[in-house]
C-alpha cells in the first residue's frame, strides 16, 4: 500500500523557509505570489491488512516520529 503524508507548520508558527522562498520568488519577478509555506512530504510504502489498519498505523507513525505536534500538523492520504 502507498501513502502520502504531508507535514506542515501550524498556523502562526514562524516559517523562515516559506518566507525566504516567497522573497526569492518576488525578486525573480513572480509578483503574484502572496504567501508561501513550506512543509515535508513523506511517501511510505507499507504492508497492512487493510486500509483501516494502514491508516491507524500511519497515524501512529506521525504522532510518534514524523511530525512534532508542538509546531506541526500532519495529514495522511492513502494512494
Amino acid at each position: 500500500m502507498k501513502a502520502r503524508i504531508t507535514v506542515t507548520l501550524k498556523n502562526g508558527v514562524l516559517d523562515p523557509q516559506g518566507r525566504a522562498i516567497a522573497n526569492a520568488l518576488h525578486s525573480l519577478g513572480f509578483g503574484g505570489v502572496e504567501d508561501v509555506r513550506q512543509g515535508k512530504l513523506i511517501e511510505v510504502e507499507l504492508k497492512a491488512a487493510d486500509e483501516a489498519a494502514a491508516k491507524t498505523e500511519l497515524d501512529a507513525m506521525c504522532r510518534q516520529l514524523l511530525a512534532n505536534p508542538v509546531i506541526e500538523n500532519y495529514r495522511v492520504e492513502l494512494l
Binding site: 502562526g12 508558527v13 514562524l14 516559517d15 523562515p16 525566504a20 522573497n23 508542538v70 509546531i71
Partner: protein, 737 residues
Amino acid sequence: MPATDTSIIATEELAAAHRMGADEFRLACEKLGRAPNLTELGIISVMWSEHCSYKSSRVWLKKLPTTGPHVICGPGENAGVIDIGDGHAIIFKMESHNHPSFIEPYQGAATGVGGIMRDVFTMGARPIALLNALRFGAPDHAKTRHLVAGVVAGIGDYGNCMGVPTVGGETNFDARYNGNILVNAMCVGLADANRIFYSAAAGAGNPVVYVGSKTGRDGIHGATMASAEFDDNSQEQRPTVQVGDPFAEKLLLEACLELMAEDAILAIQDMGAAGLTSSSVEMAAKGGSGIELNLDLVPQREEGMTAYEMMLSESQERMLMVLRPGSEPLAERIFRKWELDFAVIGTTTDTGHLVLRHKGALVADLPTGILADEAPMYNRPIAPKSVPAIVPAEDVPAPNSLGDALVALIGSPHLASRRWIWEQYDHMVMDDTVVRPGSDAAVVRIHGTNKAVALTTDVTPRYCYADPFEGGKQAVAETWRNITAAGGKPLAITDCMNFGNPERPEIMAEFARAIEGMGEACRALEYPVVSGNVSLYNETNGEGILPTPAIGGVGLIADVSRVATVALKPGDEIVVLVGAETGHLGQSLWQQQATGRVEGAPPPVDLAAEKKAGDFVRGLVEAGVTSTVHDISDGGTLVALAEMALAGKRGLTYARAEWLAPHAAAFGEEQGRYLVGLSRGEAARVLDDAKADGIPARIVAEVGGDAIAIGGEKPVALTDLGRLHEDWFPTYMSGRR
C-alpha cells in the same frame, strides 16, 4: 487569552492563571493603587516571574565576587565585559534553554543559541565562539537519543549558519535529567573596549526603535513557563515553543554591528524572554526614564494581535534600541539594506512610566520601578543536608585488572569521545580556532593578533549533589584548571545555575551552598563572576535534577605560539604528574562503574594548592618548556593518561603511586592535578623546580610504544582503546546500542 481590552480588570483567579500567587497579586495592586488590567497583569506577571526578577536567587547572587582589575562590566547588563588589553574587550555570558529544549529539542536548543548570541552582540561585540553545556537523561531512557539528536542538530544548525565557531562544551548523562534536560549555551564576543553598548535609556524625547524580525504569537508566556515546574500535562503547553531563524539573526548581527560603528545608538537591548516587555522596562528602569510605545507601529507577522500578545510575544531575532535623535534615517538605511524590519515605535519620557497605546487607546500605564527594582525578592528558607563522610578506598571494589577497568571506563557514556557532537558544529569558521574541541580548553585567536582566549565550561553535578559547597568550588576550579592547562591565564567566569524548585528548602540550600562554594573559589583564584543566568524549577513530578551550576571560564593567552593541548607530542618522553595523590574514590566514575552508585564526599578542592600547582604549570607552557598538558578530572590519572596517549597516538608505560591501593591511584579523582609531557632532560629540571616550590610532582609515565602498559598486566593496545573510545557515541546514536 481573550481579546485584550482595558475593561478586563485582573482578579486573583486571572493572576493565578498567570502563575502569580495571591500575595504577589495583592502586592501588585497595592503598589499600583488599583487592580491592573489584563495587559498590565501580563506585563507584571512576566516581570515578576523567577526568570526575569531573580526573586529567589538575588539575595544569594549578591554574594559572588564580581569585580577585579580586568572587569569592565559585571553582572547587571546583557553580558559581562572584561578587558584583555590593547583596546580589546571580551563580552560573554551563558544562558539556559532547558524547558523549551525538552519539549522541542531542535528548535529549543537553536533558539537558545540565538538568544545568547543576541545578549553578546547587543553590547557591541562580534561573537567569536560558542560553547554548550548539555545534560541528558540516562542513555537507556526512551527519550534520550531523540533529545540528543535534536539538541545537537539545533545548536549546530544555528551556530553554523551564523558563522560563529562552536568550540567547546560538555555533555553528561544521568537518570536525574530524564525528565528535565539541561541545555546551556555560552557565547563569547570581541569588542572594542571603548565602544561597549549598554541598555540604560537615559533622557527623554529619544526615539525608541524596533528592528529585526516581525512579531508573531510565538512563545507567549515562555518566560513564565521557564519558571514553572514540569508535570505530565506540560506537553499541552506546546505552542509556546519558538522557531529560530538563524539567517535573520545573521542579518541582525551584521546590521547592528554596522550601525554600532556610527554614533547613533544611545541604548540597546535584545528582546529575549518576555520580549518587548522586559526590553522596554529594563531600558527605562536602568536609565531612570520612562518609555511610551505605540503598539500600532510594531511590525507584526500575524493579523489582529492584541496589546497583550505583542507585549508578551517571544518572537526571536528582534532588538530594541534608543537612538540619538536625528539618526533614524541612517539607521533605517542600514537595516533596510539587510532586509530587516525597522520601525520607530515610541519615545523615551521623563515620567518613569511604561505607557502603551494601541488603536488610539491607552492600554497600559505602569511605573517601571514596580516592574524592575521593586519586584518581589525572597529570602527563601534553606535546609542544608549533612555532608557525607569520606569513603575509604578500601570500601570501593577493586577491579581484577586496571587495564580492563580502563577499557570499561573509556568506553562508557561518561568518558566516550564527544566527537559525534562536535563534528556537527563548525568549529573552524572565522579561521582563528587554534585549539579545536577535544582538548581541555578551546583556544580562539583574537583576529589579526598574536594573542588568544582560552574557553571552557565545567561542572561535576554528582559532586554538587553530594556536597554543593565543594561542588560549587570544584566547578569554578575546574574551569580555571582547564584554561591553565591550555596555557591561559584565567580571567573571569559566567555561570548558569540550574536547580530544582527553590520553594523546597533542601533545593534552596543546594543553591545557596553552591554559590558560597563558587564565591570562595572565585576569591581565592582572583577569578570574578561577570555574568550569569539562573534556571530554577528544573523538576518533573517533584523530582529535582542534580544541582548543576555550570561555569563558563575565559582566560587569556598572550602568545598564541605558546599553547598546550592534551595530545602527547613527538618530543615527549616523560609524563610528570603535578599535584598531590591521595586516592580519593568517593563520587568517582570508578565507584559508579564498580557499584552502580556514587557515594561519600566528593574530592575536596584545596584552593591554595590549586593556585600554586596551576601557576607552576602555566609557567611551563608560557616558557615554552612544554606544549602537552592535561588536567586530571573524571576518571582519574590513568584515564587522563590514556586520553593523552589516544590524542597523540603514542603509547606509554604507567607508573602508579606505590603508596596507594592500585585502583585508588589509577582512578582517584583528587583535584588540582595536571599531567605534563616533557623531554627527559626537562623532566628532571621540572621536578627540581616543583620541589623547590613545595609542589608535589613525580614521573607517572614513560612515553613510547603503541599501548598503555601497566605493570604486571597485558598492555592495552591504543587502537583497541581508541576504537572503544570513539565508537560509543556513533553506535548509540545509530540506535544499534
